[in-house]
């Protein structure tokens, strides 16, 4: 008897790893016929709407909820005072220094609000419409306090305070000094003896993750148990943190991330609304749902980037770099969220990039301002670092009169030098920067474009052409647990997987890495199909539910395949090892005499004597005829904790047309070659590169979270926060080199962030290369046409933008979408 279909052929199946499979999850994700959190409807479910502060900084003097409480359909209205004893503080898991100041982060403000959009009350009603209607009926009085909005002012002597119970706006001062760490020489000495020093101030503007699916939470109480569905990247971390914050015991709490529509780091968080939803469900004993509006999402979900970088580079006249010094102001916003302080600290080990700096020093101040908190956003610390080093290398090249590529080549790590310990103490695992660069240059058509640039310069063409180079590496595969420990992070970096062999020969793979659009189900199936020799279609990947996948650390930092995939592979190897013992028993042979190939164990030298792993799964289920002393299971678990990070790298080239009459920039050509190690699915890799490029280019050209002088977010809708679409982006010429990562059984390095990290400086360098001969040496991101035009007019960096939102659309802003307006907030604007 067999429940497994006989397959006619005995040929080994085609290798799955490396196959450009279409993603098995896409049909349901793209059509929306799936369980997004907001699709959930539970019997008796109540709906939440959050009343939010229209002021950036103020004391709450009174809240009158009586009118809202009496509104039709309203069940309850809760304020910060009502939940003060049970709401705890939104957790920060990364105290980057022992003396880091954490002001505490109530989910609902009780006494003081510190950014526009902060929750001040929650409405619970029978319908979403009733809840929304009642928001306007809550009357809150504020005593206004001055809003702290500018980081450089915030750290100056006598600055206004973001939190008046603190002494300053500094949360922490983090230092990495290569000289002190023993990984480099003395930085001051390197600079004082240098022939050339170039210093620049770069601004990493504030960005909004802008995931497609708005955040949504559903909580169902069952006795003293609670199930939370949330549109989150991190169900496992969320469960632990909610237990710690609210006192609901961890074993009484189940968290489910159903299909999740994007995150980009923006859903790597424990949000106030998740805490509020749990508290309300606990208090009322009823299921509740909260789903944000797009305006709420842009205004209150955490933001990313927002650094001011003071970068000094030292070199000799021949272009050999001697030292790098980075002083960073990193805007935390009003509070510390899950890993807010850790984001710039991740960058601390990457500012040196792929270059052999003998001396390196990094210092960073975490600064409080009255804005929404910042936290993880695609790349998290590494784009900021890459931007700084790739921009300063171009500035140095200009100073030395060298070709920017030649300068890089002179200083990067040679292929023969891997593994290479960097001045920041990282051990770069593998790669070949020269090979990737050569391939990129060929894809790009570098020489032709340089010739055209020359022609346009000579003819004084109103449209000038520039070429930008960016090379990069990044630390991926977050993370070796002991390294996280040394950086004071509150958790490890391992990942867990288990494989369950079902009686009919089908396979369930349980992964602790929870996808939110990456394609784990497809890639994990490919990995397991190869290792177990079962058909791709026979594999199901389970994830995202803490009761199904009890152990995991979720998805961020290009870790899923590198760490989570490695756990899957290791679990599969354990399954094969157990099955081998069963096979030996069934075939009456020694384990040592068995070959395993194409899913079948065969006795070496005995044709026809074989049993498939799927047949063994059935034999294990029956357990009628099993090896003596072996428990009847061939299922296996594995937990993989990497010993080192993995280090993808690449070379990106951008050709940019700049219309000098209008300031409009347009990418003419973009080519990149990335080394992400072994490629499991080329289609997914290509997609990640394309999406990453779009997001990195968006930082360079389009996106910026703009606050006005009163702390209102004026980019509060997609009319003003410009996310580019395919129509606004060029064709991408992409390629790969492959240097396997030695640190995991797959050889993969991680690809989720590569495009985002490398593209931003390539694009800015290209625009500057087009107009540098016209006296422009910097333009602030995003390179709006107005900024480019102003830089061309007066040689500055393009300056501040007016902060008023566009008048199109009727100036789509109200108190509830963008806070209050005063004369200061309309910098030259007429709302």
């Amino acid at each position: 008897m067999t429940a497994v279909e006989d397959r006619a052929t005995t040929e080994a199946p085609e290798r799955e790893v490396g196959k450009a499979r279409r993603r098995k999850e896409d049909a349901r994700l793209i059509t929306g016929r799936t369980t997004w959190t907001d699709n959930m409807v539970l019997p008796g479910m109540l709906h939440l709407a959050v009343v939010r502060s229209p002021v950036a900084h103020g004391k709450i003097t009174s809240i009158d909820v009586s009118a809202a409480q009496q509104a039709p359909g309203v069940i309850a209205v809760l304020t910060g005072r009502d939940v003060a004893d049970e709401q705890g503080s939104i957790p920060c898991a990364w105290p980057v220094t022992p003396d880091m100041v954490n002001p505490g982060h109530p989910s609902i403000a009780a006494d003081e609000v510190n950014h526009v959009g902060e929750a001040v009350a929650v409405i619970v009603a029978r319908s979403k419409a009733a809840a929304q209607d009642a928001v306007e009926l809550v009357d809150v009085d504020y005593d206004l306090l001055p809003a702290v909005l500018d980081m450089e002012e915030a750290v100056a002597e006598g600055a206004q305070l973001t939190h008046d119970h603190l002494d300053s706006n500094r949360s922490f001062h983090f230092v990495f000094d290569g000289g002190e760490a023993g990984t480099g020489t003395d930085t001051d000495e390197a600079f004082s003896s240098a022939e050339v020093v170039v210093s620049r101030r770069f601004v990493q503007q504030r960005l909004i993750p802008a995931f497609m699916e708005p955040r949504s939470v559903v909580v169902q109480p069952q006795g003293d148990n609670y199930t939370m569905w949330s549109s989150t990247q991190v169900p496992h971390i969320l469960r632990i943190m909610l237990a710690m914050v609210t006192g609901v015991p961890e074993h009484k709490l189940r968290v489910v991330a159903p299909d999740v529509g994007g995150g980009f780091g923006g859903k790597l968080q424990v949000t106030p609304e998740e805490v509020i939803s749990l508290l309300v469900a606990r208090r009322l004993g009823k299921p509740v749902k909260w789903t944000e509006t797009r305006s709420e999402s842009l205004m209150t979900a955490h933001h990313g980037r927002d650094q001011i970088q003071y970068i000094d580079i030292a070199a000799d006249r021949e272009g050999n770099v001697k030292g790098l010094r980075c002083r960073i102001l990193a805007d935390m916003g009003a509070y510390l969220r899950l890993v807010s302080p850790g984001v710039p600290v991740l960058g601390a080990f990457m500012f040196n990039g792929i270059y052999k700096f003998p001396a390196y020093r990094f210092e960073c101040d975490g600064v409080f301002t009255n804005k929404v908190p910042t936290d993880a956003y695609r790349g998290a610390g590494r784009p900021e670092a890459t931007f700084a080093v790739e921009r300063i290398m171009d500035e140095l090249a200009v100073e030395l009169g060298m070709d920017p590529l030649e300068l890089r080549r002179k200083n990067w790590i040679g292929a023969e030098e891997f593994p290479f310990t960097s001045v920041a103490g990282m051990t770069y695992d593998s790669g070949d920067y020269e090979a990737a660069t050569q391939q990129a240059l060929e894809l790009f058509g570098y020489d032709e474009l340089r010739a055209e640039q020359q022609r346009r310069r000579e003819s004084n063409d109103p449209v000038q052409l520039g070429i930008g180079v960016s090379t990069f590496t990044e630390m991926c595969g977050l993370a070796p647990s002991r390294v996280l420990g040394s950086l004071s992070y509150g958790a490890g970096g391992w990942e867990h997987a288990s494989i369950r062999m079902l009686p009919t020969g089908k396979v369930e793979v349980v992964s602790g890495a929870t996808p939110h659009g990456q394609g784990h189900e497809t890639a994990w199936s490919q990995l397991v199909a190869d290792r177990l020799g079962v058909p791709f279609e026979d594999i199901e990947v389970l994830h995202g539910d803490t009761s199904v996948s009890p152990r995991g650390l979720d998805t961020y930092g290009s870790r899923s395949l590198v760490v989570g995939g490695a756990a899957v592979v290791n679990a599969a190897e354990k399954v094969v090892a157990k099955a081998r013992r069963v096979a030996a028993h069934l075939l009456e042979a020694s384990e040592d005499d068995l070959d395993f190939s194409g899913g079948k164990f065969a006795v070496r030298g005995t044709p026809g004597s074989e049993v498939s792993i799927q047949e063994i799964a059935l034999a294990t289920f029956a357990a009628h005829n099993f090896p003596e002393g072996m428990e009847p299971s061939i299922d296996a678990d594995a937990t993989f904790d990497p010993e080192n990070f993995s280090f993808p790298h690449g070379t990106h080239l951008c050709a940019m047309e700049v219309d000098t009459e209008t300031g409009m920039v347009k990418i003419r050509k973009y080519a990149c070659v990335d080394d992400v190690g072994t490629i499991v699915n080329p289609l997914i890799v290509e997609g990640q590169i394309h999406g990453g490029l779009a997001q990195g280019i968006a930082q360079a050209l389009f996106e910026e979270a703009v606050y006005d002088a009163d702390g209102n977010l004026t980019t509060g809708s997609f009319v003003d926060y410009l996310v580019p679409s395919a129509a606004d982006l060029p064709h991408f010429d992409t390629g790969n080199t492959v240097h396997e990562a030695p640190g995991n059984p797959i050889g993969a390095k991680g690809v989720g962030e590569a495009g985002t990290i490398a593209s931003t400086p390539a694009v800015v360098n290209a625009a500057l290369d087009a107009v540098r001969h016209l006296g422009v040496r910097d333009i602030r991101m995003p390179l709006t046409p107005e900024r480019v035009w102003r830089a061309l007019q007066d040689g500055g960096d393009g300056g501040d933008r007016a902060t008023a939102g566009t008048n199109a659309y009727g100036g789509a802003q109200t108190e509830t979408t963008a806070g209050v307006s005063t004369p200061q907030s309309a910098l030259g604007g007429d709302r």
């Binding site: 409009m664 410009l722 129509a727 007016a802 008048n807 199109a808 009727g810 802003q813 030259g828």
Partner: protein, 285 residues
Amino acid sequence: MIPAAFAYARPTTVDEALRAVAEGGEDVKIMAGGQSLIPVMRLRLAAPETVVDLTRVAELRGVRDDGDAIVIGAMTTHHDVMTDPLVLQHAPLIAEATETVADRQVRARGTFGGALAHADPAGDLPAVALALDADFVIAGPQGRRTVPASEFFVDYLTTALEEGELLVEIRVPKLAGEWGMRYEKFNRVAQAWSIVAVAAVVRREDGHIAEARIGLTNMGSTPLRASAVEAALAGAEASPETIASAARSAAEGTSPTSDLNAQADYREHLAQVLTRRAVTAAVGL
């Protein structure tokens, strides 16, 4: 993103629509595609008592030939306008500008009349209607009246439409002679509103510019005609130099706003560059 409660009427004729508007109470909004109205209602910037939805008023859809003019029904969708043979033959400028409006989905629902009656200064079609000297036919309880484009746009989001009235059709005069047209739009991403745009309609005669009509988008609270440029071009030689020189006065008499896409001085600069480019293209240089 949930609008406040409102009453809803969906008439099938203009007469029914006028009645629904009259009976709709204090604050009635007419929905002609809803691509601007619904977002502002969802943001609760508008909370009308009654919404009168014209979607089912068939007589307001379509383009017809009326001798010396083409007549575009107010409820003709952007998509239908863009692809209409009469529009392409007699007023290609309308098709060219309409193609730049928002995205495909919006163009499938948004309407020509809706966009004009909304009178968003950053909208593309008002300046085009102004440059083409279109006439606006308005129906009201007292019957119909016609208002020229030059008098239709009164102020920011405000038109000559009185309470109780509906825009029913737009008459676009057919042009005799050798005309060229161009819409130069400047924005940052494909689906965005114009930061500044210029609609140029030019008649050539014997190597000269006999007549030029220049409409400006988003250079003030209403669409504007660049009359100084028009005067400078009338009868001028059709050369790059004369066009460039005339275009320098494109910002005269304008009062652009400052927002995060552009401050006023930059908008004035853009108006000059875009006017030069639009006229140059319209002239066929």
